[in-house]
């Protein structure tokens, strides 16, 4: 017997003048069940979306702030997606011995997800089509983060430039969570070739922690930082 049935029965009892005493408790219980159903059915999902919206905005804003700081901190590392050695380092390119350049592969990756509220909004947007700006912003944030990590990795190895940078974006949503296809996750991998000035003081062996002192200025003309 569902809650609504009990209420209907109670109303019928009242209208027919039957004794209320035994059914009063039942009616109160039934109203309780109905309101609980209402809360679970409508209110909780809304609350859930609201929490996702607020927390999601907070997470995104905090991330954008951190990205801006990190990008400013790594602004001096030359980065390019061409294979050519940047002209600033051309003097060191051909030189062997202490003035040469040392190349090393660096890679970094990040997995980001979008909050459930924005995911829900995008689902609605998909119905009418057009640009899915929220997903676009997620992908760009992930790329910026991957690049910042790549530069940090290069800096930890004493590099002055990263060339031939490549980005790879993959949707691991269906891969990692095949059953519950809820959130949207994006993985961005960034990789490139880090160049560092060869020299006794700048050599950092692979696997060793970040050098305690910043690498000394390279011999010869110092690289010009990009504007």
């Amino acid at each position: 017997v569902s809650g609504t049935d009990v209420i209907a029965q109670t109303i019928q009892m009242i209208s027919t003048g039957q004794s209320l005493q035994p059914v009063a408790f039942e009616a109160v219980g039934a109203i309780g069940i109905v309101s609980l159903q209402l809360v679970c059915g409508c209110f909780l999902p809304l609350l859930f979306l609201a929490i996702a919206l607020i927390a999601g905005s907070f997470v995104e804003q905090a991330h954008l702030r951190r990205l801006a700081e990190a990008e400013a901190a790594h602004a001096d590392i030359i980065r390019t997606d061409t294979r050519a050695i940047p002209p600033q380092l051309a003097s060191a390119e051909g030189a062997s011995g202490a003035n040469g350049l040392q190349s090393e592969l660096v890679l970094s990756s990040v997995v980001l997800s979008i909050d459930h509220f924005r995911n829900f909004l995008t689902l609605l947007r998909k119905i009418i089509g057009g640009e899915l700006g929220l997903y676009g912003r997620l992908a760009m944030r992930a790329r910026r983060e991957a690049l910042v990590r790549l530069l940090a990795e290069a800096r930890a190895r004493g590099a002055v430039a990263v060339i031939n940078i490549r980005f790879e974006t993959s949707n691991i949503n269906g891969v990692m969570q095949p059953q519950k296809n809820k959130g949207t996750m994006v993985e961005v991998l960034a990789y490139g070739t880090a160049l560092r000035m060869r020299g006794p003081a700048t050599v950092v062996h692979a696997g060793s922690p970040r050098p305690t002192s910043p690498p000394p200025p390279p011999p010869g003309p110092p690289p010009v930082a990009p504007a």
């Binding site: 859930f48 929490i51 996702a52 927390a55 999601g56 997470v59 995104e60 991330h63 294979r83 050695i85 390119e93 051909g94 030189a95 062997s96 040469g100 350049l101 040392q102 190349s103 090393e104 592969l105 890679l107 970094s108 990756s109 990040v110 997995v111 980001l112 997800s113 979008i114 909050d115 459930h116 924005r118 997620l138 983060e145 060339i163 031939n164 490549r166 790879e168 993959s170 691991i172 269906g174 891969v175 990692m176 969570q177 095949p178 519950k180 809820k182 959130g183 996750m185 993985e187 991998l189 990789y191 490139g192 070739t193 160049l195 060869r198």
Partner: protein, 109 residues
Amino acid sequence: MIVVNTETVSGYEIVETKGLVQGNTIRAKHVGRDIAASFKNIVGGELKGYTELLTEARRQALERMMQQAQQLGANAVVNVRFTTSAITAGAAELYAYGTAVVVQAASHS
């Protein structure tokens, strides 16, 4: 071993091309990490567990590639590329490939 994703290595010259070398690994999701990630998924943001999982897996693919290069007698791998693909539901394949070469320090020109 020198590993770069450019076609040449600065300060070195390629004296012999040994051939294509590759390494891959297929990883399934980790249950413990998956639970943590599904909570994080609600508010969005970075899913660190997955980032670590994929980074570790990619390093393994890279190591397998380098092992192959070593067997060929190469001392460097150039033009390295990565791809990620969904092989089957619940698992991702991470694949790295490049060209194994023998390099020697460039003489003064």
